[in-house]
């Protein structure tokens, strides 16, 4: 039998590398294509919000039939157009750094996807679920029926890293180098101004970003996004999932605000500042180099949606509403293993092994999609902050609040857990 005591810091074996390759491919495909879909959504949703129609004329002509797909071909047309544009480099630019900076700006966010859990675990060898109340539907080990040995399950994330969130903070903070170098290497005052603003803003908000989720770490006693997600599958008094947003409502607002500031979108878009500094650090980039900045920003939206979903909205563990938890291999009263949804009231809806994992992934994507839409709505609702307001909000409002949140959570967690 598997370990009876759950130890989140236990040593893990390497996953099957074929599965890992498939997962990397899937996540990369999802992230990039979600970004393309978000380009489309951004345009058409914002249009409907502003009583306009939005672009819907890009079409494929097949004989006399025009295929427009509600304007979904616009991102395709954009990408094709932008790749054929002139790759302009300013005469006095530092050519090496100018060429490097788009990669430096875009790669960190793609790396961060490695630790995002988009589904629960599967046990191809056979289930030996070791659920604890605290870690909800997080499967700790599987049981190989033939040899009666416990095996690590195949998890629906690329790397099951115990320091998942730490890796995210470490890698995503590297993006600021790409931005700073982009502005400096362009040899343009506006670009430099934009990159200075971006550097100051991103470094300032990183402090709040890290401190705000500290409370969630304390309650989960883990930095792994998979553990945190599993924890939220547990029920609160048997009626409501323990979503992070209920446990740490203030942390949610702080984290979400800081995350929007990190993505440098409205209302924190001073670094781009189209009306004052002409697009800031990406001013002197064209063609596919600009495209990488542009795509990086949209992938960041997807990523923020993923992290918020995993930390605060129950991730793959629960339904899009906090009323039910997906369990794969839950020991039922009649001695069999149940695969399906455990409702808040206590009922169990069997779905089958495969359908449960599909439902988990779909639930995760639904929540992530909703949060991408909310980020877009924020963008098309709020005006831009003044630069001093951005800094005041960070250092005088968000940071003290996040510190207070950590302190109170620590005291409460010390006495309750």
């Amino acid at each position: 039998m598997g370990a009876t005591d759950f130890n989140p810091f236990a040593e893990k074996k390497m996953d099957n590398y074929v599965y890992t390759m498939i997962k990397i491919g899937g996540v990369a495909f999802m992230a990039i294509n979600m970004a393309a879909v978000l380009v489309w959504m951004e345009r058409r949703f914002s249009a409907l919000m502003q009583d306009r129609v939005g672009p819907h004329r890009a079409n494929l002509k097949l004989g006399n039939i025009n295929i427009t797909l509600f304007g979904l071909l616009h991102p395709v047309a954009d990408a094709l157009k932008i790749l054929w544009k002139e790759d302009f480099v300013p005469a006095k630019a530092n050519r090496l750094l100018h060429a490097m900076s788009p990669f430096l700006a875009m790669m960190p966010v793609l790396i961060c996807f490695a630790v995002v859990p988009f589904g629960g675990a599967v046990c191809p060898e056979g289930f030996d679920p070791q659920y604890t109340e605290r870690y909800g539907p997080y499967i700790q080990s599987c049981l190989n029926a033939a040899t009666n040995q416990s095996v690590d399950p195949t998890r629906m994330l690329i790397t099951d890293l115990d320091i998942g969130m730490l890796l995210i903070f470490a890698i995503s903070s590297l993006a600021v180098y790409g931005i700073a170098i982009a502005g400096w290497s362009s040899y343009n005052n506006y670009a430099l101004l934009g990159s200075l603003r971006a550097s100051a803003q991103m470094i300032s908000y990183e402090v709040t970003l890290g401190l705000s989720v500290m409370g969630v770490f304390l309650l989960a006693s883990s930095l792994s996004l998979d553990h945190i997600t599993g924890m939220q599958g547990a029920f609160w008094g048997g009626i409501l999932n323990k979503w992070g947003i209920f446990l740490q409502p203030l942390a949610f607002i702080l984290f979400f605000t800081a995350a929007i500031a990190e993505t440098k979108r409205v209302p924190f878009d001073n670094p781009e500042g189209e009306s004052e500094i002409q697009g800031g650090y990406m001013l002197e980039f064209s063609s596919s180099r600009f495209f990488m900045f542009f795509l990086g920003e949209l992938v960041e939206i997807v990523f923020v949606g993923c992290v918020v979903t995993a930390i605060f909205l129950g991730g793959w563990a629960t339904l899009p509403l906090p009323i039910g938890t997906f369990y794969n291999g839950l020991p039922l009263e009649d001695g069999t293993l149940g695969h399906g949804i455990l409702w808040a009231g206590g009922g169990f809806l069997p779905l089958g092994e495969v359908l449960t994992i599909v439902a988990q992934i779909l639930s995760f994507f639904t929540k992530m999609f909703v949060f991408a839409v909310i980020q877009m709505t924020i963008r098309w609702t709020l005006p831009r902050f003044r630069y001093d307001q951005v800094m005041t909000l960070c250092w005088k409002v968000l940071l003290p609040l996040s510190l207070a949140n950590v302190l109170i959570t620590a005291v409460v967690a010390y006495f309750l857990y």
Binding site: Q50, D51, R52
Partner: protein, 228 residues
Amino acid sequence: MTKVVAPKIGFWEKLYVPEITRGLGVTLKHFFYNFPKRLLGQKSDIVTIEYPEKPEVYAPRFRGQHRLTVRDDGNVRCVACMCCSTACPSNCIRIVASETEERNVEKFPMVFEIDQLRCVFCGMCVEACPCDAIRMDTGIHVKPVFNRSGAIHTKDLLMSFKGIDGTRESTAVQGGAAKGGMTDELRERIANDLNPLDPVYEPRPENERFSAQKEEKAPAAHDAHGHH
């Protein structure tokens, strides 16, 4: 220097989050109002004019593509008097006059060309014409061209356009009132001080949104006058 008085912000507004949520609600209200109606093809708040598919109705006196009206026998009505080319402020009309005995007219334009790249669509040629031979009542734009020579409209092309009433003829009748040109409708229009040469159009449909706004504002303006 004028002193800027900032509006007072209370505690509730200073919390940001509730007010931002309210703002998001306003944005989403527009979205959820427009989205299903647009999907079902119903009338929504969207103000965009989808031009080529659903063109906006032009004003009755819209000056667009020129046309040369024709006589009853199908020949050009123009008598090459040069009034239009003289009146033209941008010198875009080129006429080469010629004589003819076949038709019961002394002069006719052998060449009648309008350079649409030069034309400013002032309508002075129409005003100047004594024969109602040139009109700009086609209700369409001059079509874009791929080369400059395509923008020079020849006599045949100009004669091929139809007026917004669907005919190539003039509304004036050859021979005037004595030959039945004066109808009751025209008499009425002259009595009402309207230009008898203006073609009759359907009245332009008013945008409901804007007319509704007008109705709201109208009584307020009336009250203001009452006070004076």
